[in-house]
Amino acid sequence: MSENLYGIIARVMDVPISEINDDSSPETIPSWDSFNSYILLDELESEFKTEFTIDEVTETKNVSDIKKHLKNHGIILDD
């Protein structure tokens, strides 16, 4: 599942999946601009069939934050 999460991020940000890790963030990936973060949010919600709250959305700074929120939504990612 973790691969799937990385895969989605890589696809939305248009970078190779090998460049994605838990520390990936708008600081480390140039294409991760604000619009792409809306797209990412929308993709994650559809893929994992869940909805993030606006607090979660604004608090998200990097990939590990996304993992944390998904976990709180009861979504198990294989590490």
Binding site: D42, E51, F52, I54, V57
Partner: protein, 583 residues
């Protein structure tokens, strides 16, 4: 809801589009909120239709500056089409939340003021750009602080937006290159609760949810298709399980499903929708594998048949394959295959059509006849920017055309046939009544078109006001009826000694009757009256204009370099069987 990809699909695909496509368009998008992704979606949707699309998205909520500053990137971008997408929240400002903080009179004044502001934007834009301008109207809020009492209020929030929409519609209805996109219709079709996502709005001022950007772009593509003259002109229909339920050859006249109750009413509904399209100028034709007599019996005698024989411009009811049938229809109607939509309930027939004739638009027709109407409604291939009188009469004209063809078969000799046609051409200089039709012909005519120069309505308008240009149109009548305005020409008169034929075309409906010679005779006469002794012309070959290839040499033009020339010292004979009237 029509199937649509997610926005991310378009964003990804837009990065891998081909570099060169046959047709080009430049689209500018201005908006009062975040509409990122619209440009990429346009690029992909255009590429699917062989159109190379370059887009320019105005800076966030900078539409006023972009339009009012004539040096802005908007004008430098030089768009063909400009969309201005505004939203109700932005236009109302605080009144969105507290509409009743001011009284009725103030609310009316507010609406008037907003209308004037938008009107001014339209004026400034039109004065400074040749682009078509499409502005969205405003969606009418469905929620109110007053709850169910809202509709009792005098000039309440709903009425305010209604009034603004009405004023805009009235204003743009007389403007030539300005159009109103029905955003209110868009929102109500998909539902406010779907189109508006509160989290996306608060997070990024996204007022059309990302999932609906592709739907919106799809609607707006209607303007692109119409601007480029790619609208479809003829629907080719199967009969069994398409216009009626069941198979006439097996079920028989009394057993097919067609009538006032379900399921037969689904077919009646579909036929009524098709008749509506026919009435505004979309041609209908039949392509069916059946015994001709069985099918004709239904068409002529079934009490619930809405579409009658006279509504079909062409009928191919036989046991030939559908591909050759549609090629024959194309030949008989004198329309290229790219003008056709093919409708058939059988997926095998559709696959065959798609793979053999990709130019024909074969739609994936739903299994359930209750969805037939929706399938056609959802495709925006019948959009045009202008509906002329010729369009409304077109269906009838083609029925007359069928009679002409039959007459041609009866008369063995072409000269005799033409003599007996009682042809009359009326040649007029362009005026405000004929300009829309001239522009339409210029954008659509492919075959008998000398230069295939495409001019938009605004260009035609300018030519008509230019003293150095002779621009005219030709109406053709014969013993079977009026073909309407079916020819046009543009002549540059800048030189004192020579004129240049810029555009010369005839609709395929009236080709092969030597009408072109009568038109040329008219132009030559005008030239001589002005002491001009030479007319120059250019033939620009395209994939489709072979029918006009020999027109210039046949009329006595001689090749000089890249141009063809005719010296006007001898009498030019125009066909004596065509009566010419000048107006």
């Amino acid at each position: 809801m029509p199937t649509e990809e997610k926005l991310s699909y378009y964003l990804k695909k837009s990065k891998i589009l081909p570099n060169y496509l046959e047709k080009k368009i430049r689209i500018a998008i201005l908006s009062s909120f975040t509409l990122n992704g619209t440009g990429e979606t346009f690029q992909v949707k255009c590429a699917e239709k062989n159109i190379q699309c370059i887009t320019n998205l105005g800076a966030y909520n900078q539409y006023n500056q972009e339009i009012l500053n004539t040096e802005s990137t908007l004008y430098q971008f030089n768009p063909d089409i400009t969309f201005l997408i505004l939203d109700t929240r932005s236009i109302l400002g605080d009144l969105w939340y507290f509409p009743y903080s001011i009284d009725e009179k103030q609310r009316k004044d507010f609406v008037e003021k907003k209308f004037k502001e938008i009107q001014n934007l339209i004026k400034i834009f039109s004065e400074n750009s040749k682009s078509k301008f499409i502005i969205s109207n405003f969606f009418i809020p469905t929620k109110s602080n007053y709850g169910i009492f809202e509709t009792k209020l005098k000039f309440g929030i709903q009425k305010m937006i209604n009034k603004l929409n009405e004023s805009l519609q009235d204003y743009i209805s007389d403007l030539d290159s300005v159009y109103l996109f029905d955003m209110n219709g868009f929102v109500s079709r998909y539902g406010e609760n779907n189109v508006f996502d509160p989290k996306q709005f608060l997070f990024g001022d996204i007022k059309i949810a990302l999932d609906f950007i592709p739907h919106l772009t799809n609607d707006l593509m209607g303007y692109v298709i119409a601007t480029l003259g790619l609208s479809k002109r003829c629907i080719v229909l199967d009969l069994d399980n398409t216009l009626w339920g069941g198979i006439i050859g097996e079920d028989g006249f009394d057993r097919i499903k067609l009538g006032s109750g379900p399921p037969g009413n689904a077919y009646v509904e579909f036929q009524k929708y098709l008749l509506g399209l026919h009435n505004r100028g979309i041609l209908l034709a039949i392509n069916s594998k059946n015994n001709l007599d069985d099918a004709l019996e239904v068409i002529e005698k079934h009490p619930d048949m809405v579409l009658k024989k006279e509504h079909f411009a062409c009928m191919k009811i036989n046991w030939n394959d559908k591909v050759s049938n549609i090629q024959e229809i194309s030949h008989e109607l004198n329309f290229g295959l790219e003008n056709f939509v093919f409708i058939d309930d059988d997926p095998i027939n559709r696959e065959l059509m798609k793979s053999t004739l990709p130019q024909v638009l074969t739609i994936d027709f739903p299994k359930d006849p209750s969805n037939y109407v929706k399938a056609l409604e959802d495709m925006n291939y019948f959009n045009v920017l202008k509906i002329t009188d010729e369009d409304k009469k077109r269906g009838k004209m083609y029925t007359q055309q069928k009679e002409r063809k039959d007459f041609e078969k009866l008369t063995p000799n072409l000269q005799d046939f033409l003599k007996n046609m009682e042809l009359k051409v009326t040649i007029k200089e362009a005026d405000k009544f004929s300009i829309p039709r001239i522009s339409q012909l210029i954008l659509k005519t492919n075959q008998f078109n000398l230069t295939t120069k495409r001019y938009q309505l605004e260009d035609v308008q300018k030519f008509s006001e230019d003293d150095n240009v002779l621009i005219g149109c030709v109406q053709v009548e014969d013993k079977f009826g009026d073909n309407g305005i079916t020819g046009a020409f543009i002549v540059h008169k800048d030189g004192t000694k020579e004129w240049v034929l810029d555009t010369f075309l005839l609709s395929c409906r009236v080709m092969g009757r030597e009408i072109e010679k009568s038109i040329l005779a008219y132009i030559i006469k005008k030239a001589k009256d002005n002491n001009v002794n030479k007319i120059k012309a250019e033939y620009i070959p395209t994939q489709k204009n072979k029918p006009i290839e020999n027109f210039l040499p046949n009329c006595g033009f001689k090749k000089e370099g890249n141009f063809w020339e005719i010296i006007l010292n001898e009498t030019f004979y125009s066909p004596d069987f065509i009566k010419i009237e000048e107006k």
